[in-house]
């Protein structure tokens, strides 16, 4: 079973994402901000990370830049999932090492499509 870390400061979004991803046979861990996510990755590197952008303490983009420099941090497939839908923001995310990008709002169909694009399904 593949593991996915769901990083979002909204408990509701985490819950929705968890339900969809569990149906897709992912083992889910949650984090409420970038720093919690980094700590989770240092304990155990997940196969996939679903990542919000705007979060307190540490943002998604700062987390991603730090993660990619960590040992083994190049391994997780990172899918941004954010309300940011500017082309400049999307390009910034890809440059920082994101593999895929979801613009909120999303549904199960989009999550499935994007995880397929990223080679996770």
């Amino acid at each position: 079973m593949k593991s996915c870390l769901v990083v979002d400061d909204s408990r509701v979004i985490r819950k929705v994402a968890r339900r969809i991803l569990e149906d897709m046979s992912f083992d889910i861990e949650e984090a409420a901000d970038g720093l919690e996510a980094l700590q989770a990755c240092r304990r155990s590197m997940p196969d996939a990370i679903l990542l919000d952008w705007q979060m307190p303490v540490m943002s998604g983009i700062d987390f991603l830049k730090t993660l990619r420099k960590e040992s083994g941090g190049d391994r997780p497939v990172v899918v941004f999932c954010t309300t940011e839908n500017d082309v400049a923001r999307i390009s910034e995310a890809i440059k920082a090492g994101a593999d895929e990008y979801i613009m909120k709002p999303f549904d199960g169909d989009i999550l499935h499509s994007k995880f397929s694009e990223a080679g996770l399904v």
Binding site: N85, I90, I94, E100, Y101, M103, D109, I110
Partner: protein, 276 residues
């Protein structure tokens, strides 16, 4: 709600006009699809709309009714394996069999809101960038003028562009326009859109080297399905390839095709001749 008798009349019109086979369990679907049209025509419900059309014998309104029933749920690069096969074998094989200056003629039959022909245009552009493309013409047709207008606009919602498009393809081939995304002009220009009813002879549209008619014939009855396959064959070059939906297998219906890459991809039978 539509009565049984009204549903039967709508089903008969849909079959006769566009080959759409509506079975009884589709009553609620038909009712839901016709309700917005009923409101626009100042009718309280779909049932009242049908009564009115029957009373007036209004052909334009029947056209609107049938148009509203055309399916439009689709993804970019729907059935990824098929697009992989198109890129890796089907299109290269077709190009190899032709002179370098010849244009490959492609028909997206039943293109709905345009996701299929635009996916093809993107794929062909990527193939050209890899130095393995050729000259290609894409004709995309649908029975629904409502869907063709949308397709030709090249505008898709944020939801639509996230179904089947990778983020790299999105930012390489689309630009954001307000809350919508528009496909690049060069790709929009690569596809010609035309209204066409698959129940009508298609020979004058062709000949095509490659036809995609995916998840269209599954909504037809068997006789319309066979006759449409033969009309498509008559509009194809002798070595042309037809791609059906990934779950469609109609090889046994007609001698016009033979299975090529699995059941859903068929090659035109070069010896087949259409019955006069």
């Amino acid at each position: 709600m539509l009565t049984e008798a009204q549903f039967a009349i709508v089903a008969q019109e849909a079959k006769q006009r566009i080959g759409l086979a509506l079975t009884h369990e589709r009553l609620a679907f038909v009712d839901a699809r016709l309700t917005p049209l009923a409101r626009r025509e100042n009718c309280a419900c779909a049932g009242e709309l049908i009564s009115m059309i029957q009373r007036q014998g209004d052909d334009m309104l029947w056209h609107g009714v049938v148009d509203a029933l055309v399916m439009s749920d689709t993804h970019f690069f729907r059935d990824r394996a098929q697009f992989r096969a198109l890129s890796e074998t089907i299109i290269p094989d077709l190009l190899r069999g032709r002179p370098a200056h010849a244009r490959l003629r492609v028909w997206s039959a039943g293109c709905a809101a345009g996701q299929e022909p635009y996916s093809l245009a993107i794929l062909l552009e990527e193939m050209r960038e890899e130095g393995r493309g050729g000259l290609v013409d894409i004709l995309a047709t649908d029975i629904s003028s409502r869907l063709l207008d949308k397709a030709a606009s090249g505008l898709f919602s944020q939801f639509e562009v996230q179904r089947g498009l990778s983020i790299r393809r999105l930012i390489a081939h689309f630009e954001r326009v307000g809350e919508m995304w528009r496909i690049a002009d060069r790709l929009r220009a690569a596809v010609r859109f035309e209204t066409h009813n698959l129940l009508v002879d298609a020979a004058q549209l062709g000949p095509f080297d490659l036809v995609l008619c995916r998840n269209v014939l599954s909504s037809f009855g068997e006789a319309d399905r066979r006759e449409t396959l033969e009309r498509i064959a008559a509009a194809m070059s002798e070595d042309g390839v037809l791609v059906l939906g990934a779950e469609e297998d109609y090889a046994s219906l007609t001698g016009a095709f033979e299975p090529a890459h699995g059941a859903c991809v068929m090659r035109r039978n070069a010896y087949w001749r259409r019955a006069a």
